[in-house]
């Protein structure tokens, strides 16, 4: 199975690589459309600024190829900013357009709680989740973000609460996204990544 990690300068790429490597999967870095060719699964890791990410993906010619990968229902996992990139836009960068798989907008968490939302918080699933299989309800994952998605049409979600309830995880077929960092979330994070790899393997076989 070929797992491509989108490389655009995000700081967490090496830790995602290491986390996959501990699960016995050697991933490839993809910095252009060519790097995505033949990928069974694509992971978009992300930290930083929504606008900077989208502009960098555009500069690398990767917007349309990523949209196509997702439209063909190939396995995809967006991490943190990589989840937010699935939406049409973000209040963090009102002039930049996202991958627009979901039509809604990413918004800032309310300032009633301390921001950034930084640290370990609990994730609650409402229904079935392939990514959360074998992980207990209310398990802790590591978050570090200020913006979040509040709704994703057609996706089943798990939520977290920090000032308001927001999307911590979404799944729609083989399309997956997590607002937290599984690569920084200890053994629960490793289980989640291994679940994604199983989803991806199922889709390729």
């Amino acid at each position: 199975m070929k797992v491509a990690l989108v490389e655009y300068g995000a700081g967490n790429l090496p830790s995602v690589e290491r986390a996959l490597s501990r699960l016995g999967v050697e991933s490839l870095r993809a910095a252009s459309a060519a790097g995505l060719t033949g990928a069974d699964a694509v992971i978009l890791p992300g930290v930083g600024h929504f606008g900077a990410l989208m502009r960098q993906l555009a500069a690398q010619g990767m917007i349309a190829p990523l949209q196509e990968h997702i439209a063909r229902q190939r396995p995809f996992l967006g991490i943190c900013l990589g989840l937010q990139a699935l939406f049409a836009a973000s209040d963090e960068a009102p002039d930049d357009r996202g991958l627009a798989v979901f039509s809604s907008r990413v918004a800032a968490l309310p300032a009633t709680a301390k921001l950034p939302h930084m640290g370990w918080n609990q994730v609650q699933r409402a229904g079935e989740s392939r990514l959360l299989e074998g992980i207990s309800q209310d398990e802790y994952f590591y978050f570090a973000h200020t913006y979040a998605a509040m709704g994703a049409e057609g996706a089943s979600v798990a939520t977290c609460d920090h000032g308001t309830r927001f999307i911590a995880l979404l799944e729609r077929g083989n399309l997956c996204g997590v607002q937290f960092h599984p690569e920084k979330s200890g053994s629960a994070g490793a289980t989640l990544l291994s679940n994604f790899l199983r989803v991806a393997a199922g889709a390729t076989s």
Partner: protein, 254 residues
């Protein structure tokens, strides 16, 4: 459902080895950073901080290599810092595998550095480290590893640092550092209550009750300690269970 308070072990290094000191002096060797990091990762630490307290320019590559070795052992977030003077230093630290970078002296000298770092790395990756010492009815910020007083009020500086882009504050009480006499809860609350970002309390940790106190009375979002963890005087599982039983939100699953 609440955000858990964090317990963060800190590795003070001379670039390559973990060292211990009292109130920033009298250093002695306390082990290999990667070995300690692996142990703390396994035992349930919520995050790890590694600092270069010697921070001389010529051995910077050694410290970056230490960050790489430490990051390779972790499945939890890593913060690194010490001697960060410019944007490039921060970039090198993040590229070496840290998730967040701390900045102290250079930010006081040129506060715009915080905004520049936040713009490039995101505020969540920028930690303003403040070393504060009590001066009568207020606290003064010190720089250069606690050597130089600045005349700057630590609370006012914390507020300004956040307005300029710091996403978190690492607040060390120089009066308590290395003394094992408990965190300075008054200082911690004074900062935590006026900033919108999380505050990590540091300096003085000894007993589980010290941690309870800094979360309850100091309003800390995280508590950092070094020697009590290195010397095995305090284990994470026991400490976290103790705090959870007393109502502090803790990640105890690990």
């Amino acid at each position: 459902m609440t955000l858990a308070r964090r317990i963060i072990p800190c590795l003070d290094t001379d670039g390559s080895r973990v060292v211990k000191g009292i109130q920033f002096v009298q250093l002695r060797d306390a082990g290999d950073p990667a070995e300690l990091a692996a142990r703390y990762n396994r035992e349930g630490a919520d995050e790890l901080v590694v600092l270069d307290i010697a921070a001389s320019r010529d051995h910077r590559p050694t410290f970056l290599e230490t960050i790489r070795r430490v990051a390779a052992e972790l499945a939890i977030p890593l913060t690194a810092g010490g001697g960060v003077a410019k944007l490039d230093d921060g970039r090198a630290i993040l590229r070496a595998g840290a998730d967040k970078v701390t900045v102290n002296t250079a930010a006081i000298r040129r506060p715009e550095l915080l905004s520049e770092m936040a713009a490039e790395f995101g505020a969540q990756a920028v930690i303003l480290a403040i070393d504060a010492r009590r001066r009568g009815d207020h606290w003064e910020a010190y720089v250069r590893g606690g050597h130089d007083p600045t005349g700057i009020d630590a609370i006012a500086w914390a507020k300004e640092g956040v307005s300029r882009g710091a996403g978190e504050i690492l607040l060390t009480s120089m009066d308590r550092d290395g003394t094992r006499s408990g965190f300075d809860c008054e200082l911690t609350a004074a900062v935590s209550d006026v900033v919108s970002v999380p505050v990590i309390a540091s300096g003085g940790a000894d007993t589980p009750d010290d941690f309870l106190e800094v979360f309850e009375e100091g309003h800390a979002d995280a508590a950092l300690a070094a020697s009590i963890f290195h010397d095995n005087l305090q284990g994470f599982a026991m400490l976290k269970r103790y705090l959870a039983e007393r109502g502090v939100p803790m990640r105890v699953s690990a």
